[in-house]
């Protein structure tokens, strides 16, 4: 591995492999993708996140060639792909519904695309075996798709789309039906394949942990537009909008108003008191803002802590999640703020219980000031 991090999107010289230029897709009057522009670079592992029906599949289908953009254009290596038919694009797609051929065996399903590529006949069987091994389905080679489980089918679909070794691989929720362990294994497998072959991946997922694990960049979509594109850590730590902050992970959103501030620091007044925070830019006095703070950055203590931001409340509810617990704390002014604690002690020995009066606190840099 090279030592300098893989960040082609920060390099003004780099040319993107895939480019969506002001792409709009309408179904009748309904706008599924709305004037969307997006650059994806070679060897990226690009993750698309977004609520159901926000246009993720549509975006992929346009890239694969099943749908034509109503407006705008998509280029691959600088070439407009609109005139290139589906079967001539060096892009493969794994379907959300798997779309396995029911009349063919698992092995024949995987061989299907190879038989229609320029791979010599003699090498096909070897390649099929290789793919079967990869997805751990060698003993099911002779079965038909209906004779294997849902998760196994998903892996066949994955193997089939990988077999042709495409330049771009589109994965529409590829791992949704797998159990956690197999999903993690497959995630690492995908990253491994990506490292070996240099394939560019675009993956749709509902699992943000998955997006965080595999992706070089994450895009959060809503109603046909991209709200933010950033690296997984940036999108988690520095979301640009309340929508993104709320979509990725848990967050406390506090509505307030800027009372005073410089470029470095500002004070926000809200129902429960005043918060000192670091804005990204100087905010004018009176600006309406939302302050976003992740539950794990909120500290709970029994006595008043020495912290910039502190607030008093009482424990309303405790959600036990195994490794962590989420405490729902009601402030004296009636808002509910979530705080997370690692369960270092056993359940019966935890320090706070229902109705306990507690203090919540966080540092000046812990939260984010959002204006949209």
């Amino acid at each position: 591995m090279s030592t300098d991090p893989f960040r082609p999107w920060e390099d003004p010289q780099a040319t993107p492999l895939i480019r969506f230029e002001n792409v709009t897709k309408r179904f009748g009057a309904f706008v599924a993708v709305d004037n969307l522009s997006l650059d994806i670079y070679e060897k990226e592992f690009f993750a698309l996140l977004g609520a159901s029906g926000c246009g993720k599949t549509t975006l992929m289908r346009m890239l694969a060639g099943f749908e034509k953009p109503t407006e705008g254009r998509i280029t691959l290596n600088g070439v407009d792909i609109a005139p290139i038919p589906v079967n001539k694009r060096d892009i493969n797609m794994m379907f959300q519904s798997y779309a396995l051929f029911p009349h063919l065996t698992v092995a024949d399903n995987i061989a299907f695309g190879l038989k229609r590529s320029d791979m010599p006949k003699a090498e096909i069987a070897g390649r099929v075996d290789e793919m079967l091994n990869l997805v751990q389905l060698s003993q099911f080679a002779k079965r038909k798709p209906h004779q294997i489980s849902g998760g196994q089918r998903q892996r066949v679909a994955l193997a089939r789309s990988l077999a042709r070794n495409p330049k771009v691989l589109l994965l529409d929720e590829p791992l949704a039906a797998l159990d956690k362990k197999l999903r993690q294994e497959t995630q690492f497998e995908l990253m491994d394949i990506q490292g070996k072959l240099g394939t560019t991946f675009m993956i749709v997922t509902h699992d943000q942990e998955e997006a965080m694990t595999v992706a070089s960049r994450v895009a959060v979509m809503n109603a046909g537009v991209i709200k933010q594109i950033a690296t997984p850590d940036a999108i988690y730590e520095r979301p640009n909008s309340a929508y993104v902050a709320d979509f990725i992970g848990e967050v406390n959103l506090i509505d307030g108003k800027v009372t005073s501030g410089t470029e470095k620091s500002c004070k926000i007044i809200w129902q429960g008191g005043t918060i000192t925070a670091q804005p990204r830019a100087k905010l004018a006095k009176g600006t309406e803002v939302r302050y976003a703070i992740r539950p794990e950055k909120v500290v709970i203590s029994a006595s008043k802590p020495e912290a910039t931001n502190a607030i008093k409340g009482k424990v309303l509810d405790i959600a036990y999640l195994g490794n962590i617990s989420t405490y729902h704390v009601e402030t004296d002014s009636g808002q509910i703020i979530k705080a997370q604690l690692t369960n270092v002690r056993r359940l019966s020995q935890r320090s706070f219980a229902w109705e306990d009066p507690v203090w919540l606190s966080w540092t000046e840099t812990a939260g984010i000031v959002l204006t949209e």
Binding site: N87, I91, M93, F95, F101, P102, H103, R116, K144, Q152
Partner: protein
């Protein structure tokens, strides 16, 4: 409630008798040793032997077979193509008209279909014979094929075809390697249906035939006008047999495919659960 009351049994028996007694009598008398159709003189298969020596009947049988196979093949290709368009192309201008026009011959009186085809052939100056019957039969049986095939296509997952295209197939290759094998049972039963329809059609064939081509139904019809002979009974029995086998096979193919699909879905559910 009792299911087999006297009334139920009686009406069932009467109904079935009404439907099948004439056919049964015909079959029984085809094994009659006597020449007289109405007098039973013992069991014999001699009329079947006679039939095999009757050149005119054999010729007619050959013509019928040729017409049946050719017309049902043409009808299957056209009917399947029409079904694909109907189910796949979504909304297009004139879709309702088009689908109406495909299904109209199903309810069109045969006499009118026959007459209009006859007029067409005459005005085109086509010499009437085997080929004109083939065309006529293909015309009216393709709508049956199209009905059978489109009912299967409705439940066909279109992403399978897209996956095939994605994996490098041309449109035609995708149809041939993915769609066709999956809808094959429907296509086969469509073919059998078309074949059976062609086999027993009298009206349209008589309109569109020429002196050179006589199909079995035409032959039987003209022979019967000179009096019913046991040979005709034997021939009709054979025809009934052929049609029965055709219809039963068609329904079995469809049913088996449906059962198969159901079982696969069942297994898939279990595998997931």
């Amino acid at each position: 409630m009792k299911r087999f009351t006297l009334f139920n049994i009686t009406s069932l028996t009467l109904g079935f008798a009404f439907l099948y007694v004439p056919i049964l009598i015909l079959i029984i008398f085809s094994f009659n040793a006597s020449r007289l159709v109405t007098v039973w003189a013992g069991f014999s298969t001699k009329w079947y032997g006679k039939l095999l020596q009757n050149e005119a009947f054999l010729d007619a049988a050959w013509v019928t077979l040729k017409v049946g196979i050719l017309s049902s093949c043409i009808a299957t290709v056209l009917g399947t193509a029409a079904a694909m368009v109907m189910v796949r192309s979504g909304k297009f201008f004139g879709r309702t008209l088009f689908s109406g026009m495909i299904y109209a011959p199903l309810v069109m009186p045969e006499v009118i279909t026959g007459l209009s085809l006859l007029l067409l052939f005459i005005s085109l100056g086509v010499e009437r014979g085997v080929m004109t019957i083939v065309l006529a039969h293909a015309t009216f049986s393709m709508c049956y094929v199209s009905v059978v095939v489109s009912s299967r296509l409705v439940s066909f997952d279109q992403s399978l075809e897209e996956a095939a295209l994605d994996l490098g197939c041309s449109q035609f290759d995708a149809f041939k390697s993915v769609t066709l094998p999956i809808i094959a049972p429907a296509v086969i039963s469509g073919w059998l249906l078309a074949f059976t329809l062609s086999l027993d059609d009298l009206v349209i064939a008589s309109f569109t035939t020429g002196p050179s081509a006589t199909t079995l139904p035409i032959k039987i019809y003209s022979a019967v006008r000179l009096g019913v002979s046991p040979e005709i009974n034997a021939l009709s029995t054979l025809l009934i047999g052929a049609v029965t086998i055709g219809v039963i096979t068609a329904s079995l193919v469809t049913k088996r495919a449906a059962v198969h699909r159901k079982r696969h879905e069942e297994m898939a559910r279990q595998a997931e659960g």
